[in-house]
């Protein structure tokens, strides 16, 4: 694989994504973790761009960074009244968790490396047409209409539910 600017940027995004994700799981300050998560999410969005999934990348940024991350920050603020943000991790738990995660990673890497069908599929850089229109068609008119409608119900339910639960008292 030739080493071009594109690949350089790719690796850059990859590195940023992974590093920030690593930060998310390791930094002690939860607000820092939230910011690291934001970086990760951007990184992933970048990777989507590399995959020529433009709409997806946009959604990622809007929904995740604009929605979820904000939610998380709200959460942090609402639950950490006494700025109890530092997180203490026990060694045993850390080791065990690390072990399990590592084992999973090794398994996944083995699979990735050994699955013949996934080998040698490189991005030849051919530009693809923008996906937005076909996504719109698929979701609103064709195959993915049902999931779309269902998800809308789901969102409604989540909305009602979240409101229901986070309300202080339902009825007196």
């Amino acid at each position: 694989m030739e080493f071009t600017l594109k690949t350089f940027i790719f690796y850059g995004f990859a590195l940023i994504t992974i590093a920030s994700a690593f930060a998310v799981v390791t930094v002690r300050n939860i607000v820092h973790a939230a910011f690291a998560l934001m970086v990760t999410l951007f990184g992933v969005a970048g990777l989507y761009v590399f995959l020529q999934a433009d709409f997806l990348a946009a959604t990622q940024v809007i929904v995740y960074v604009g929605g979820i991350l904000v939610l998380i920050l709200f959460g942090v603020m609402m639950t950490s009244g006494r700025l109890e943000m530092r997180i203490h991790i026990e060694r045993g738990q850390l080791l065990l968790g690390g072990g399990i995660s590592l084992a999973l990673l090794m398994l996944l890497l083995t699979v990735i490396a050994n699955t013949p069908g996934w080998k040698n599929l490189t991005d030849d850089g051919t530009p693809l047409p923008p996906t937005t229109e076909s996504i719109g068609n698929l979701i609103l008119g064709e195959k993915f209409l049902l999931p779309f409608e269902v998800v809308s119900v789901l969102l409604l339910v989540a909305l009602i539910g979240a409101a229901l639960i986070s309300r202080k008292e339902v009825r007196d």
Binding site: T115, V150, L154, A158, I160, G161, I165
Partner: protein, 502 residues
């Protein structure tokens, strides 16, 4: 049959649509009625369920042919199997609503949202029972899960309820995340989301005549195990079961009942369809020993469920473990999916379906008694059941029947359920599994009988008679009578035998 497109599919989708409509209607009605008349909302929800039931029957009859009808471009499929589960789930929801009406812990909280959520979760379960696409499966699962989290945490003033919801969602989120990862791997291997296409693809990819199969068994194994985490968590099978005792204990009793019956049933519907449609081909089976995997999970599930139930003091928690164990029994039937013999698969599915019918009545019945006792005696602990036979003879008698049915004592329905399960398992030549199952039935006697013992053999400290309304007994008899008679009537056997996966 070619998948129907969106518009023609709608006709077959009426039940689900009705559920959503009524869910919305419930919320609106809730805004209109006064607080004290919240029962009206419940009745509206029940009407919704009733109309959905009618719709199910009608749509089922217009499809006429016994062939399954793929809908919405193959996202879901309407067939006898789905219809059965839909009816079962619908009835479970109806029962839950009725329980909720009589549950004092929920009393003050009952309002439109609750019923709307119940209808929504039913909607999600309907989809679980009929999905044939990876995406649809995941969305359906999430719909059910998210709604369940909320329902479990519905008692906002109760720490237990909140804790239950918290554990449930944490656990559920991780499990569904893992599952999604597994689904993505599966998608990556086959390049499609449609289950039957996945099956076809996998056969090609794994085909032995091809010199280098494009998919390694390990990849498939990891993918399936990850997916199993999501499904296993729904049906609370070991090792994905650990949320369920805590959640069952913390959640409002009607919701616990609902989770233990409906959620589990939906999970099984999903499991069966997923493995049957996607992985039933023997070639796939040979690449990874799925049968053994399921069998071990099944054996562990029932054993651990039963063993852990032994020392429980809280009836709800005890029943939670018991329902884990019953999940294990049901999984025995699922193991038969991998037998590669169509007749045996059919028996396995039939056995699961029959068992679910039985389980529906006996488990819901038991939970209903728990609701009643929690209302009247104000406790969920076994000690609170002391001397119940003299305080409330009919309720105690009903409870004894449910518990012995859960144990599998003839001539109660639970026995027949187990019997046809074991017959199927033995027919599939899984002798060790049958043996484990039977030993477990014996162990289970111990804790079920403990409740009976307390109710019957020990004297009550508080000797006041408990009084119940007529409606209570009527509802109770709705569960008692089938628990006694289902096994004795041929109709249920032929019914369950006729429902098959396609």
């Amino acid at each position: 049959m070619k998948p129907l497109e969106n518009i023609p599919s709608l006709a077959y989708f009426t039940p689900e649509i009705l559920l959503v409509i009524f869910a919305a209607a419930v919320i609106i009605l809730d805004l209109l009625v006064k607080n004290r008349e919240s029962q009206k909302v419940a009745y509206l929800a029940l009407i919704g369920l009733g109309s959905a039931l009618v719709a199910i029957i009608v749509t089922n009859s217009i499809s006429a042919s016994s062939e399954p009808v793929p809908l919405f471009w193959g996202m879901i499929q309407l067939d006898g199997f789905a219809v059965f589960f839909k009816i079962l789930l619908l009835l479970a929801t109806a029962a839950t609503i009725l329980f909720s009406l009589r549950s004092e812990e929920l009393d003050a909280k009952l309002k439109g949202e609750y019923y709307a959520l119940l209808l929504a979760v039913t909607f999600g379960m309907f989809l679980m029972a009929s999905s044939t696409n990876l995406l649809m499966i995941f969305i359906a699962l999430e719909t059910v899960s998210l709604t369940s989290y909320i329902l479990a945490g519905f008692l906002t003033h109760s720490p237990r309820s909140s804790e239950a919801a918290f554990k449930y969602i944490t656990y559920g989120a991780v499990a569904s995340g893992t599952m999604l990862f597994g689904l993505s791997l599966l998608f990556g291997m086959t390049g499609t989301g449609d289950l039957s296409e996945i099956s076809d693809q996998l056969v090609i990819l794994l085909a032995p005549e091809q010199e280098t199969p494009l998919v390694t068994p390990l990849a498939l194994l990891i993918s399936i195990t990850f997916i199993l985490a999501g499904i296993g968590y729904k049906i609370a099978s070991v090792p994905f079961h650990m949320w369920s005792p805590d959640v069952y204990e913390g959640a409002p009793i009607p919701i616990t009942a609902f989770l233990s019956v409906a959620s589990k049933a939906a999970g099984f519907a999903l499991l069966l369809r997923f493995f049957y449609t996607g992985f039933a081909d023997t070639k796939i089976m040979h690449s990874i020993d799925l049968g053994l995997l399921l069998a071990i999970v099944s054996a562990l599930t029932m054993t651990i469920g039963n063993l852990a139930a032994l020392p429980q003091q809280n009836v709800k928690r005890l029943l939670a473990y018991s329902s884990i164990a019953h999940g294990g029994y049901l999984l025995m039937g699922a193991v038969l999916l991998t037998s590669g013999n169509a007749a045996i698969v059919e028996r396995g599915v039939g056995a699961i379906i029959f068992y679910l019918i039985v389980y529906f009545f006996m488990n819901l019945g038991a939970f209903y008694v728990v609701v009643l006792i929690a209302n009247e005696a104000g406790t969920e602990m076994i000690d609170g059941y002391r001397g119940l036979s003299s305080r409330a003879p009919l309720v105690a008698g009903a409870m004894a029947i449910f518990l012995f049915s859960l144990t599998g004592i003839p001539i109660l329905a639970g026995f027949f359920g187990k019997w046809i399960l074991f017959t199927a398992v033995l027919e599939g030549k899984l002798y060790w599994l049958a043996f484990v199952g039977l030993i477990n039935s014996v162990i289970s006697l111990y804790y079920y009988a403990r409740i009976v013992k307390v109710m019957y053999f020990e004297a009550a400290e508080d000797t006041d008679k408990l009084s119940f309304s007529k409606g209570t007994f009527a509802l109770l008899s709705v569960f008692v009578v089938p628990t006694i008679f289902i096994g004795l009537l041929n109709i249920f056997y032929s019914l369950s035998g006729n429902i098959r996966l396609q």
